[in-house]
Symmetry: C2
Subunit: 406 residues, 2 copies
């Protein structure tokens, strides 16, 4: 466009106030009613939304149906389960955000994990997952348990196909992305540090997954889904088996399936990228204390995992409860109450959306620090960077103390 | 002084950087090592400080000695005990403040109560207490258990003398003041909502207690204490019996001695004062939702106390743990993460220091609201008042949900 060109833009949007609804179903735990696993998805959509949000809603509903069968057989979960149907996701995640803000105290105290199923079936090529590092082990584990309709030869499970079609950078395991701010898990994760996983079966080709072509358009219809994506609804069933199984393990296992060692690994790799930036030294900022804190954290996490691996799940309730609380409180120790500078709702010091997310996809590292570096490069205010480093040091050491054995 | 008078002021202060030390001793609990009772006082003083801080330090040390005797007899507390000696209290409470900030995650999760013993013996007239409403019951209970050197006639215990010499406004019970910001409990209470009590035996006359005359001066010496206040150190002993007994009950009782009904009563009386202000109606601010929330809270607290009163302490661990967690998490539900406007460290929505504290001594009510009213009266910004009311509503409802039975 030439300089001086004038544009006339006609905007036909209108402002309208609407009531939205969150619908929450609760199954009370019979041993630990005060520990809560959540699963859910939003219900609203642009136009018809067969994929976004109805594929997730149908998978969640199918899981709820399965739980009702179990309940009729006399089963009760060990922990409380909450099945959530959010309103207003497409309008800035407003339903889940308000609910988390309103219930932040109880979720911080009693929340264990949240499984999100937005765009649960957005294609039929490969599994796509965004998770907290704490979710990685159980994600891989359930991917190995469920048969995949794309099975061929010796490749039978979700995991086999996932590894074949969307491997991680080192190709040893399937790729899991970091959490972001793209669906209802965002406020759970970035505001209170509740471990989350977000799953869908997606489109893709050549070692990657892609968003479906009719995303957010009027062509996202039941007809499109049935004709081009999942005629037998086999991938819907797969997602219900995968996420439902994971939900049951979270709700019923004596020892929570949260992986502290993956968390330590993620901290270390984030720090590794951070350290590769040359700007810190140039401006007299030391990362030594942060490096030392991460080393201490890593040592504590190793001791914790060693201790955990020796348990059978038949130990006294008080011992198991203590251990489980350490795991479910770990990520919450990374919440800085006042949030990132200028972003009071982004409070996860280690893995909030921000920082390097756009530079290195899949790696979000200490966003408070990296964003401060970005600003300081323009403003020259390097004291803010130093301050953010000290906040990160304290968060890592808090996490370490949460893990320390009694 | 006439207008135009010039004053020459010579200030001899100097700025000096000093290292301060917090000394923390830990006795690990044998049943619930992940629940913590704290007791402590500061160690630093202006000049000699026989009263402030050494009377509290000697009482704390005497309690520690008593615990060491018990430990040698094979006793271990049910919960973890931390005995704290703070540095730098006279310089803006810096030792305890930094420690609480550094350990906020663990204290919020695992902290049950903090007993503070500043100016533990500052006179020989009457007990003086500042506490969270949750501490009132146990405070009265231990005051009734310990014999008072001022005993006369049928008046034998701390409680009897206290009621005689410093009754509350309705004269039915001894006077207990609200917590403030005057000693090391401040950051525990105002920042993370940990229930606290602060105790001393004080000077006084005519139905009240008073600060000792040589406060913060060079005359606060051992000689002064021995000659004029506590020649036999009987009041030091009394304080060790009182606070030590309370500490043991907090550490060992199967059911925590925190009083939810006193808390509900305090909320109601604070609201009563708030409502008496005519400014809200004049400016279209409704307190209806807050009133309704407090009613709901009060109902939940009554149900909770009924349930609690039927327990014997011999119930299953998981039942007791749940109940105790509800009590020790209750006041923390009143923490608003971002703090009062302009006071990010004052985060207790119901009883942080502020608001009416100076208008009606002993009553601190919803400081976020009352301070906003104060500002709005000058600035005309009544929207801020409305915002603070909504923060208070959410805090009260969070507290109600913490108390809801399973």
């Amino acid at each position: 466009m030439r300089n001086g060109t004038k544009l006339k833009l006609k905007v036909s949007n209108y402002l309208k106030q609407e009531t939205i609804y969150n619908v929450i179903g609760t199954i009370k735990g019979n041993v630990e009613p005060d520990r809560v696993i959540l699963i859910g998805n939003h219900r609203d959509s642009w136009v018809f939304g067969a994929v976004d949000a109805s594929s997730g809603t149908s998978v969640t509903t199918e899981i709820a149906r399965g739980l009702s069968v179990l309940l009729k057989q006399g089963w009760r979960p060990r922990r409380t389960i909450k099945i959530c149907s959010w309103g207003g996701e497409e309008f800035n995640l407003i339903g889940s955000t308000e609910w988390v803000e309103q219930n932040q105290k109880l979720l911080t105290e009693r929340g264990v994990a949240y499984i999100n199923l937005d765009i649960a079936v957005g294609g039929n090529y490969v599994m796509r997952a965004r998770t907290s590092p704490l979710f990685k082990e159980i994600t891989y584990s359930w991917a190995q348990k469920v048969k995949d309709p794309n099975a061929h030869g010796s490749k039978e499970t979700i995991y086999d196909l996932w590894l074949e079609r969307s491997p991680s950078l080192d190709s040893e395991k399937p790729k899991i992305y970091n959490l972001f701010a793209s669906s209802d898990y965002a406020f759970f994760y970035n505001y209170i540090g509740l471990p989350c996983g977000d799953y869908g079966y997606w489109f893709g080709y050549e070692n990657s997954s892609y968003l479906y072509p009719v995303y957010h358009s009027q062509s996202d219809t039941f007809d499109w889904m049935k004709r081009f994506v999942d005629p037998e609804f086999a991938f819907h069933k797969l997602m219900a088996q995968f996420a439902g199984g994971m939900l049951l393990e979270f709700a019923d296992s004596a020892i929570l399936p949260l992986s502290v060692s993956y968390f330590a690994r993620a901290l270390n790799s984030s720090f590794h990228i951070l350290k590769s930036l040359k700007k810190f030294k140039q401006h007299g900022i030391s990362l030594d204390l942060l490096e030392e804190a991460i080393e201490k954290f890593t040592n504590s996490s190793t001791e914790f995992e060693n201790f955990k691996s020796k348990l059978t799940g038949k130990e006294r309730f008080s011992v198991l409860r203590r251990l489980n609380d350490q795991m479910s409180q770990l990520e919450k120790a990374f919440v800085y109450p006042y949030g990132l500078p200028g972003k009071p709702f982004s409070r996860h010091v280690a893995f909030s959306y921000g920082g390097f997310q756009n530079l290195k996809p899949g790696v979000a590292s200490f966003p408070g620090i990296t964003e401060a570096v970005f600003r300081a490069s323009k403003s020259g205010d390097w004291a803010e960077v130093d301050h953010q480093v000290s906040i990160a040091v304290n968060a890592v050491l808090s996490g370490k103390e949460v893990l320390e054995l009694y």
